[in-house]
Amino acid sequence: MKKIIGSIIKDNPILMMGLGLCPSLAVSTTVNNALGMSAATFMVLLGSNIVISALRKQIPDDIHIPAYIVIIATFVTLVDMLMQAYLPQLSKSLGIFIPLIVVNCIILGRAESFASKNSVSRSIMDALVMGLGFAIGLTAIALVREVLGAGRITLGGSGSTIKIPGLSSAPALVFVFPPGALIVLGFLQALFRRLGEDRPEKNSEVKK
């Protein structure tokens, strides 16, 4: 368990490895969108990891990238259609960024570096850890942006909001706009580096 938590911080796809940035920043204006995006990405990641690891012996080496892309694109289309049918509101607010999950480097990256070499069960585990890391990174960015930029937190589909006294009357609007996202990401990345680095140092001190 500790190992999983450690790898969520240390190998966090967004904050430590810089993968999957494009869609994540654009949808991180509210926590709600961030969770929706994480769920969609997770479904695609899980599906493509399972299929690719199951077919890893059948897919010829020369064309493995196009084959992966087709598999990923199929799952993205699936998720896109499911979202349009059951969560039209969310699907509308994520817009063009759902089809863009295809080119999210996390998914192709995991397919290439993990699912193509490991068994199905291990690939499912990998998808869970990566998906969770992606969700945490994305939600962290969204939380900072929504709290500072709008002075509120929106919870779930019910639309209930928590207003933060002081901030909700005079929010720092810049955080809702694109520049704010980049700045928040920069500082969060530095923070996560700090967190990831402290861990082994502390452990070695205890051992001594």
Partner: protein, 197 residues
């Protein structure tokens, strides 16, 4: 929208990298040196303009007549991947020096979300063929401009004393954010003033 309007929109007002977050990975990845930035920028510009044109053709002559618009994502990404592959082969055959300069960036372009992004945007906005091509071209130009500025900033940052944890990508993101802040000056109102629409 007029053609000038489209160019101005995608180079400045809706700059893909700085306002839409499309193509951030190469933006951070290859912006540490100016020469790399120029190479990548031109390669992306070329792929974006041809890809928007060809995906437009696919959308209107294949997907809509056959009533299979739901295959859009799959088709577009395959078209883009083949264009990139084709460009790579053509450049390698015809101009070895150019290939040497661009070669390593070409495969990366397939996963540049900006290329798929601008193709999808053009389709969503219902552009005609010329407009799609122009949108792709100017989006690529916008990418080049942003990448060039960013690399200039990063080359100077290397000489500065940056706090330990902020070194590398974090400081690049923060300076990118500040640059995006400057680009916010180009908004729809300014656009309307300039082209008089």
């Amino acid at each position: 929208m007029t053609y000038i309007g489209i160019i101005f929109t995608y180079v400045f007002v809706s700059n893909l990298v700085l306002t839409q977050f499309l193509g951030l990975c190469p933006f951070i990845g290859v912006s540490n040196k100016t020469e790399n930035a120029v190479g990548m920028g031109f390669a992306v510009m070329f792929v974006m303009s041809t890809a928007s044109l060809i995906t437009w053709a696919f959308q209107h002559f294949v997907l809509i007549p056959l009533n299979v618009v739901f295959l859009q994502t799959v088709t577009f990404i395959l078209v883009i991947a083949s264009i990139v592959q084709l460009v790579e082969m053509v450049v390698r055959k015809t101009s070895p020096p150019l290939y040497k300069a661009l070669g390593i960036y070409l495969p990366l372009i397939t996963t540049n979300c900006g290329v798929l992004g601008i193709a999808l945007i053009s389709v969503n906005e219902d552009y005609n063929a010329v407009e799609s091509f122009l949108a792709g071209l100017s989006a690529g130009l916008g990418f080049l401009v942003a990448l060039l500025f960013m690399s200039a900033i990063r080359e100077r940052l290397e000489l500065e004393r940056v706090p330990k944890y902020l070194r590398g990508t974090p400081i690049a993101f923060i300076s990118g954010g500040l640059m995006a802040l400057a680009f916010m000056a180009f908004d729809k109102a300014l656009l309307a003033n300039i082209i008089g629409a």
